[in-house]
Symmetry: C2
Subunit: 357 residues, 2 copies
């Protein structure tokens, strides 16, 4: 099914309203999810809506949160999301970081007591719009084993860095710190395909190509796959995300991070509140004039785009470029939803008594 | 040859003095190199001394630099290193970041017109000593091809994050954003061994296990190795380091970064000055009380150290832990130098007319 941005946005907003969100929050939460679908990151868009609803039904998401700043200095702060939607809490934190950057050059906010925040790119792009460099990361449900271990102790813990360019789209590096994100496994499961070696291991710590291995006690692997190929680096990056997002804020870290899926209960011995995020903004003109920076970043992009490639038909891809291409295309031509997602969404419509898609 | 820390430090300091460094700068530069040897990162310690001397002989390093702050806000700054040793310039930048963090919670400094800064961990540990979180990264000689390309456009561009713990050593994530650092290739070359697939490609972009492939037009690969295993993530991280260190500061970026080896001339069409670094510091107590943070980071470390492992004899390694073990051991028992390094150092002693090792 192909649906227009505006129709999908209105539908999504209605679901959040039905969950009890304010008008403002429903519009913001829908905006985060729709940007994900527009940018071609289908795993993080409306496909997740049913997951948020289930967590809300399990009383793990508060749709009327009182989000507070619990501690701050001129350029740092800790925010308590009051168990709100990460889709609401993270933009609150990023607005605070941007305000601090406007006054002092940079702003950094660690967040506790939150939930899944959608695509990290949404939050960093808020900074880019102000000619700032944006940072965003979050911890997540434990699915990834550290190097040498067969225990799932870390989330796919994404990190995102975004930079405003001039003539070219912003450079947006938005990546899971695992070898592959869970969404890629789900695609392989649906297609009945094997996955490459180096993405997952079975419960005994052996590489497997079975996309269902996670359900059998296996785990995702850090970026790098195994030690020889640098998995200790993927583990180190994931640890960095976990510490900045959760140890620093007072959220749950490592294996204590509450799972996104509602059928798994959060650990009974929490070490903090909810999951954590870390966001930041730095004014480009805190370092050099914006036009100079953008001219040089354009030159950087131009040089990499024109690099010699192994296959002349396959150019170097600038991070963020395919997502902006998808966004332009889908804004014009609509968003393709697979049947499983349409069915989920229409199930939600029936549940809440709103018009189906 | 096994040499005591103090003897190697005095020797190294004498070389820097002979190059014309002030007493203070010679002591600092030696301190950075010696910490690298103590921590077991032999590739970045005194083994590099001959490289610095050669660059100085080629008039590419200024041993009497006038390091200046060219632009700043309360929490950001750009520093011009005046072609000084990165071993001097980066600590200057980190001290500035720490001062800003003391006043405003965080401090961020982008550096241009510098040279190789040694181990990133040295600089981040300066912040850790003040109960701050330390960040350090640098761009470097182009040796790494972005995903799909067979051109060397990026350095091994390390990123480092360091966190103060309580009972345990600091967590120090210090990693090249390539699949393997150049030092690992050099070890394989010396031993006449092949390297694993996924570290390097030949000039046509095919994986090769030949550790000499770089000399034949090949390139290092980003962390991940190939696209299927996430090399676009390694490329994105490396791009982030390049942009924060060089596009933001006004240094040379991408293929314009001047090579560390003196026998290769810098590009004739520079886009900036020297190479660039990016360092930062954030006060832990800008987010939560230091003792709370340290207690939770200790708990994090404890949980990961006690994780179930595939091979019960091989525990999970906490980033920074092996380096501190090496440091404790080598402080007591001395530093092992291989013959090639001893010969290089004694060659320098003869050149400068100082006592040999």
């Amino acid at each position: 099914m192909i649906i227009s941005e505006s129709a999908l946005r209105a539908f999504t907003q209605n679901i959040f309203l039905a969950m009890g969100c304010s008008n403002e929050h429903a519009a913001l939460a829908a905006d985060v999810l729709i940007l994900s679908d527009l940018r071609g990151i289908d795993s993080h868009g409306v496909a997740r809506l049913i997951g948020y609803v289930r967590l809300w039904e399990n009383k793990r998401i508060n749709t009327r949160p009182n989000i507070t700043i619990v501690h701050e200095t001129p350029t740092t702060a800790t925010v308590d999301g009051d168990a709100g939607l990460g889709l609401i809490v993270a933009p609150f934190a990023m607005r605070l970081a941007i305000q601090k950057a406007e006054l002092y050059g940079s702003g950094w906010v660690s967040v506790r007591n939150s939930n899944h925040f959608g695509i990290a790119g949404y939050h960093t792009l808020m900074a880019v719009e102000k000619d700032m460099i944006g940072f965003a990361m979050t911890n997540a449900s434990p699915l990834v084993a550290p190097t040498f271990s067969n225990e799932r102790l870390l989330g796919t813990n994404p990190m995102c860095y975004a930079f405003p360019a001039g003539k070219y789209p912003p450079v947006v590096v938005d990546m899971a710190t695992s070898a592959a994100a869970n969404g890629k496994l789900e695609i392989a499961q649906r297609l009945g395909k094997q996955v490459p070696e180096g993405w997952i291991q079975d419960k005994d710590g052996k590489f497997t190509t079975d996309p269902h291995a996670l359900k059998k006690g296996g785990s995702l692997l850090p970026l790098g796959g195994d030690r020889e190929h640098g998995s200790h680096k993927g583990f180190g990056l994931s640890a960095t995300v976990d510490i900045l997002s959760a140890v620093l804020s007072g959220a749950n870290y490592g294996p204590w991070a509450p799972p996104f899926v509602s059928f798994l209960d959060p650990p009974a011995d929490p070490v903090g509140k909810g999951i954590g995020h870390f966001v930041g903004a730095m004014r480009v003109d805190g370092f050099r004039p914006v036009d100079e920076f953008k001219a040089h970043l354009d030159n950087w992009i131009r040089r990499f785009k024109s690099a010699s490639t192994v296959d002349p038909a396959q150019k170097v891809i600038i991070p963020g470029e395919p997502e902006l291409e998808a966004q332009t295309d889908r804004k014009k031509n609509g968003i393709l939803l697979i049947d499983a997602v349409v069915n989920d969404l229409n199930g939600l419509a029936a549940k809440f008594g709103i018009s189906h898609l």
